[in-house]
């Protein structure tokens, strides 16, 4: 996403951040306002639209009966795909997924998989033969920065919203009984993304901030405050060990607060 940014804009963003200010008057560690609308798509087993400032991500969950992977015969299957739709940004083009959408999908996948958010062992219908396959499709509708956090949140909200058919195996055949049941969700991963601009870390970067950042760092935390996924990316900069430690501690705090917006316990 290498859009050309006017030098004046770049200067302005950098100067603001030097003074601990930002384009939209937020503090360096503040998130934009977030709205979550679960269950928007009735035909999907689960869905959620997340609006993080002007960034909008819709996640739909579909389930199917399929075969398990040979090395995990007693686990259901999780598949994450992401589409950077051409309507979401002038820099997105139609066509097969590019490296940015693949990276987004894989970071969302790691966050959900490594936190063991879905109890995959409960998705087995017939060990080694038939399991439930969960498809998480991330649809980016509007890009104004920080797609990862919005996508992980939308993914989690959609999973919590998901109701799957009541499958039973009778004489080797999978049948749907009446009624639905909740998808078994055991953990609640929350991603916190930092952009490094002028040597400082800012949380929840805007698109314009992403366009001038040196580098990006995403850390995903599980419900116990452990780190379960990390991705450095965006731009050709680097981090010092101190900045990474700072991000881990700050991210842990922030994720605990952010989780309350998604999970009502």
């Amino acid at each position: 996403m290498s859009e050309i940014v006017a030098k004046v804009k770049q200067k302005q963003i950098e100067q603001l951040i030097t003074n601990d200010k930002r384009l939209d008057d937020r503090g360096l560690t503040d998130y934009r306002e977030m709205q979550i609308e679960p269950g928007l798509i009735e035909k999907a087993e689960g869905s959620a639209l997340v609006k993080l400032g002007k960034t909008e991500v819709l996640v739909g969950i579909k389930v199917e009966v399929g075969e398990p992977f040979p090395d995990t015969p007693e686990e259901g299957v999780l598949t994450v795909n992401a589409e950077l739709l051409p309507l979401a940004s002038p820099s997105f083009e139609p066509g097969p997924p590019d490296e940015n959408s693949i990276e987004l999908a894989r970071v969302v996948d790691r966050s959900i998989r490594e936190s063991k958010a879905i109890a995959v062992e409960e998705l087995v219908l017939e060990a080694g033969k038939k399991v439930i396959v969960v498809f998480i499709d991330v649809y980016v509708l509007n890009h104004d920065g920080n797609l990862i956090d919005a996508s992980v949140t939308a993914g989690l909200a959609a999973l919590l919203n998901a109701k799957i058919p009541n499958y039973v195996v009778e004489e080797g055949e999978v049948k749907k009984k009446t009624g639905y049941k909740q998808l078994p969700i055991k953990n609640y991963p929350i991603a916190v993304t930092f952009a490094k601009i002028n040597g400082k870390l800012v949380v929840d970067p805007l698109l314009e901030e992403e366009q001038v950042m040196d580098a990006r760092l995403t850390m995903t935390f599980d419900k116990d405050g452990n780190i379960c996924a990390i991705q450095k990316g965006g731009g050709s900069g680097s981090f010092t060990s101190q900045q990474i430690s700072e991000a881990a501690k700050l991210g842990q705090q922030i994720s605990t607060e952010r989780r309350k917006l998604v999970v009502k316990e």
Binding site: E114, D222, N226, G235, G237, S245
Partner: protein, 248 residues
């Protein structure tokens, strides 16, 4: 079959690992610079059972041309695994994993390369994993930095990578394939030492507390520093004799 594997202990009572290593011990690493004659720069690495080739072409005309940048060179990177490099044949078409690794390897090298010296051109880096044994992204990055240097591309420093992680509750350096698959966490880290130590690649999957994470990063950085020495020796092994030849 998988049940039996799960029972295999990764770390024995004496704190030794399956392959006999200590917790903070690297696998043997061998590096060689200048192994392919058609490339502008090349290098080969054996890291444990990993066997990886890297080649650099350029700076040359960018292809496709519309990708070229007005103020700097484009660094293009392809990480690719041979179909025979893993237990089950891998389709030669690029997988999503390979696309992601190509991207993070490129972004880990970009901070080191003076791309602004070659506007509108392209520096193309090809990495072929001939045999994979856990930790291919770190080994690839380490060998790629040498191939760039061998091609005479101006760089601030070599970039070097190493992973650390956790298996059976113990923090370990340089995860092997089975430790990566059966262990609790894997954290690959890349280090550039000039002008000051900077981390240019950082990923993680698994579960670690914040305290464990900090220890793992510092372990991985120690591994990086050890391999950095081997990188420099490999460059010298090719270029010191050349220098003596021309001067003598």
């Amino acid at each position: 079959m998988p049940k039996a594997q799960e029972k295999q202990k990764l770390i024995d009572k004496e704190g030794k690992r399956i392959d006999g290593r200590q917790l903070d011990e690297l696998r043997p690493v061998k590096l060689e610079v200048g192994v392919l004659s058609s490339a502008d720069g090349s290098a080969y690495i054996e890291w444990g059972k990993n066997k990886i080739l890297a080649a650099v072409f350029g700076p040359r005309e960018a292809h496709p041309k519309h990708l070229s940048l007005p103020d700097r060179a484009l660094l293009q990177c392809r990480y690719h695994m041979a179909p025979f490099s893993v237990e089950e044949r891998k389709s030669p078409a690029p997988s999503r994993r390979e696309v992601e690794l190509s991207k993070v390897i490129r972004q880990a090298l970009e901070p080191a390369v003076f791309l602004e010296y070659y506007p509108r051109s392209s520096i193309d880096l090809f990495i072929e994993v001939l045999q994979a044994d856990g930790g291919t992204r770190c080994a690839s990055l380490t060998v790629a930095a040498l191939a760039l240097a061998d091609a005479g591309i101006p760089m601030k420093d070599l970039v070097v990578a190493c992973a650390a992680g956790k298996a059976e509750g113990k923090l370990i350096l340089d995860l092997s394939d089975s430790e990566d698959k059966l262990g609790e966490a894997d954290v690959p880290v890349a280090l550039m030492s000039t002008p000051q130590e900077a981390i240019t690649l950082l990923q993680m999957d698994g579960t670690l507390s914040v305290e464990e994470f900090e220890q793992v990063v510092s372990m991985a950085l120690n591994g990086c520093r050890q391999i950095y020495k081997l990188q420099k020796e490999a460059l010298k092994a090719k270029y010191v004799p050349l220098k003596e030849e021309t001067e003598g």
